[in-house]
Point group: C2
Chain length 175, copies 2
DNA sequence: CGATAAGTAGTCAAATTTGAATATAATAAT
DNA sequence: ATTATTATATTCAAATTTGACTACTTATCG
């Protein structure tokens, strides 16, 4: 998953250190749809630097704190950004849904327990959908077009998901 | 992603060697929603064996061909299968859609090119949806409940996706 | 006031995933 | 008839991801 696009995209806005990127991801709610361990972010920075897409601008030493390494995007990096942007737009949504694998083997499972597990899932999807909808309402006009569009898409996907999961429960696991 | 559930699930049906699992995944069309490199499958078998979930039943030597290693599921493995089944049912769908990252930075991109890229994506989604729909019609009653249910879910997700992407194009990238 | 949590900034070994390489046989195409 | 492709069956080095750990600072809470 393209951490590289994330890093390049955020560096398009100005110089940043890895931890700052972390913060931005949280602050903008991107953590809903960009899941990764922190380590991967530092790795992405390293790789991008090695290939000349970004470069160190400054190392800030505040007493008794780990150093912050400020990175900026290079010209080559901006080109790479444009290309990655188009590549990601072409990538189809991943149909690799965990439930699909489970459904494949549902006939070997205990319907009662599977029902309980799916209920947990539905609750969680409902919660997330509610959360996103409240963000949509609260922030109304204060969101960028991109952020609004992502919200719309995510909410639609979550609703499709709920309808489908409820149908599975109604059909009582094929029994 | 749970290759382990895949392996255990298929071994529930009887002893198999890794390559046979590969074939089954293709034959049943699971390759639409289980994406992995071949190597990962052998790794999954190794890990499952080390932890006693499966065991070697036989090594078949056909002249001038690589050996096939037949694996069977153990009692411990069957318990693990039941647990994994429930775990996977609880995992929420991944909202980590490649387009989300791209949309976040759409304002730095060329609308014309982005439009072309998205068009490619829409075509591909349309093609896949058509493919799945034709499978749904052709095989009608010959599909298991699980397989039918997966098809229904996948098709619904793809349609939600198309509606959303078309809306993005109509809105002309926020301009 | 002292303990405890939460924030700052990053490193690193271990687990996992990828993708190319190997080596042979059978089938299809020109 | 010979070249090319597909199928069989697996291995392994390299790329990537994870998650635990370090080490210090600033709030928080009874």
């Amino acid at each position: 998953m393209s951490l590289k696009l994330l890093v390049l995209g955020l560096l398009m806005e100005g110089e940043k250190h890895p931890y700052e990127v972390q913060q931005q991801v949280k602050a903008r709610g991107m953590d809903c749809y960009m899941k990764y361990a922190k380590g991967s972010l530092y790795y992405a920075f390293d790789q991008l630097e090695k290939s000349g897409m970004i470069e160190v601008k400054e190392v800030i030493r505040e007493t008794n704190r780990p150093d912050k390494t400020l990175y900026g995007i290079t010209e080559k990096g901006e080109e790479q950004f444009q290309q990655l942007l188009l590549e990601e737009l072409q990538k189809p949504m991943q149909l690799t849904h965990p439930i699909y694998a489970a459904l494949t083997f549902a006939s070997y499972g205990d319907p009662q327990k599977m029902d309980e597990a799916l209920e947990v899932n539905i609750q969680e999807v409902r919660r997330l959908a509610g959360l996103l909808e409240s963000i949509q309402e609260e922030k109304r006009e204060r969101l960028s077009w991109g952020a609004r569009t992502i919200l719309i898409g995510a909410i639609e996907h979550l609703h499709a998901e709920m309808r489908w999961m409820e149908r599975i429960r109604e059909e009582a696991w094929g029994r």
